[in-house]
Amino acid sequence: MMMHQSPFVQVSDLGRDFDLSAPLLSRLLEGAPKRSLTAASGVSFSIERGETFALVGESGSGKSTIGKMLVGLLEPTSGGVTIDGKDLFGTLDKASRMALRRRIQMIFQNPYASLNPRWRVGDIIAEPITAFGLAEGKGVQARVSQLLEQVGLNAKDAKKYPHEFSGGQRQRIAIARALASEPEFIVCDEPTSALDVSVQSQVLNLMRDLQRELGLAYLFISHDLSVVRYMADKIGVLYLGELVEVADRETLFAKPRHPYTQMLIDAAPRIDAFGRTAERAKGEIPDPIDRPSGCSYHPRCPVVEDICRRTAPEAQLFADGRALVSCHRAKE
């Protein structure tokens, strides 16, 4: 394995704003101000080869926006992403950009929407192979068969259409397609949220096996903490587009330091907590257009103080550098 100075995937100070202003003419006529929504800001983390970094947070926390930026589907407003030292949004020539993109793939939440219903499974999986020129003629078919078997399907399934498969099998097809370009980094956006629990476990196990076999780096986006706990090496907790806590799995679950992380862990239903009523979490995630002052979590925070309303907290290191927490009240 080659040694790298910098991490395999480095996300630095990534931010994305969306312009929600009315059209220019209406703005001029009505004197309405420009409005923008900050979906992500100041997000930094890194992922090594063979490692899983999970992003957790509730809806509207900016998980998917960050995921899309990491595969180059969305341009950031600020900050950047490097993969293996190469700038994803930099001034690469066309061939090197193509070469970099081959190394990144994505798996989406809904396998009913992410597979073209009019294409045969074989053609769906073959597309990346031919697009990147990874095989020719008979070699393409052989590779498709190999990929189908790798994800636990049958080589004969290449002739079928997506509707002939169940949800779990479709997600296997989506994984086979993602693997077709021989990627090193895969962004998985809620890959099992649409699946039943017994099928979810099949897909999660498969993803872990493939990671071990191929040394893949995963960005795993999920709202489900128990799934994240099973899959991730490191976890970033997102709230209103900002990382409030980043820690390795053991540190995070042993001692969540941000009140939002504590609330998420406490609110998740547990299969062994008979008759428990979770500590009532206050409120809901606010509208990102209308962010609270200071720390954005302060209106819901049980340990809020004056300073939280006035100043946004800086990220501080805890637990010998294993946890990075943005909270005025966080303690060792």
């Binding site: 509730e58 809806s59 169940s166 949800g167 779990g168 099998q169 039943d196 629990v197 017994s198 099928v199 979810q200 476990s201 099949q202 999660l204 196990n205 872990r208 709202h223 903490l225 128990s226 799934v227 706990r229 099973y230 799995r249 679950f253 609330m263 998420l264 406490d266 609110a267 998740a268 239903p269 547990r270 299969i271 062994d272 907590a273 008979f274 008759g275 428990r276 009523t277 979770a278 500590e279 009532r280 979490a281 809901e284 995630i285």
Partner: protein
């Protein structure tokens, strides 16, 4: 017969005739629900959970129909009522909460008007009394500043607040039974915790019975008193939640529990049940779970196991039919 029993479902079968075959999404299901009790109905997609709920509410879409069996509400049969009689039961005696609060509210009607309409349909109140009652019910489900928010439209509420409005609507006519079909599946965990706490609290204070349909074992563990596990339209295990979840007996219940990522974060490989829920057109003979079961015997493939009592619960599995000693 226990006077506390509110709902009794006896050998309920729902059938959908198609050109090729008659499908049975609910197959000989029996259970009872007492006042003030929360019964969880759990299973994966296609298990027949929602169809069971729809049958009890008389909301099965034709050509689907209740083919046999009985549904009794306070001892009175409700499975064979004409549509006109249903209007006095649905909303009045049985309240409903569905998964998506956005589709169960009328987007063009103010929240207050929807509540007042429901209240006045079922209770003999004047418009102003009904409106006062509507404000009270919004307050009861924890909507802040209910008196001023009552004239808002559904889109002006957040997801969690909208689901509270739906619960207020379901409770408006003080029903005896609430059927909640995946009430928190579309919500974030923090909001889910709030809504479940609210449902539990209302149920215990008013002695309303709740049939809680969900796929989430965690929700079942925390909210329900008893649980029925459904597979391919059949009840495979039913009993006290703590008994069933702490010591699941049916191989399907055991598989479900083991494939749920553990709360203690143990790193072991997740258990996986091979295959998937069968399609309604091809339900296996014998025990419907037999092709996926790791303890299948010859008998399982030919004879269908009946529900039998075992250690204080009921089970449909041949492995538990001989004696209580089988582990």
């Amino acid at each position: 017969m226990n006077r506390d029993v509110l709902l009794e479902v006896v050998n309920l079968c729902v059938e959908i005739p198609t050109r090729d075959a008659v499908l049975r999404p609910v197959d000989t299901v029996s259970f009872e629900l007492r006042r003030g009790e929360i019964l969880g109905v759990v299973g994966e997609s296609g298990a027949g959970k929602s169809m069971c709920g729809s049958a009890i509410m008389g909301l099965i879409d034709p050509p689907g129909q209740i083919a046999s069996g009985k549904i009794l509400l306070s001892g009175e049969r409700i499975d064979n009522l004409p549509e006109s009689a249903w209007r006095r039961i649905r909303g009045k005696r049985i309240g409903m909460v569905f998964q998506d609060p956005l589709t169960s509210l009328n987007p063009l009607m103010r929240v207050g008007d929807q509540l007042v309409e429901t209240i006045r349909t079922h209770l003999p109140l004047s418009a102003s009394e009904a409106r006062r009652r509507a404000v009270e019910s919004l307050e009861e489900v924890g909507i802040p500043a209910a008196a001023s928010r009552i004239d808002d439209y559904p889109h002006q509420f957040s997801g969690g607040m909208r689901q509270r409005v739906v619960i207020a609507l379901a409770l408006a006519a003080e029903p005896e039974l609430i059927i909640a079909d995946e009430p928190t599946t579309a919500l974030d965990v923090s909001v889910q915790a709030q809504i479940m706490a609210l449902l539990k609290d209302l149920c215990h204070r008013r002695r309303t019975a709740v049939m809680l349909i969900t796929h989430d074992m965690g929700v079942i563990a925390e909210a329900t008193d008893r649980v029925a596990v459904l597979y391919a339209g059949r009840v495979v295990e039913i009993g006290k939640t703590e008994d069933v979840l702490a010591d699941p007996a049916h191989p399907y219940t055991r598989g479900l529990m083991a494939s749920t990522p553990a709360a203690d974060g143990s790193d072991g490989r997740l258990n996986q049940i091979p295959g998937a829920m069968p399609n309604l057109v091809s339900i296996p003979a014998g025990c419907a779970f037999n092709p996926r079961c790791d303890q299948v015997e010859a008998r399982c493939q030919n004879e269908r196991p009946e529900l039998r009592s075992w250690k204080g619960r009921s089970l449909a599995c041949w492995r538990y039919s001989e004696s209580e000693e089988v582990s």
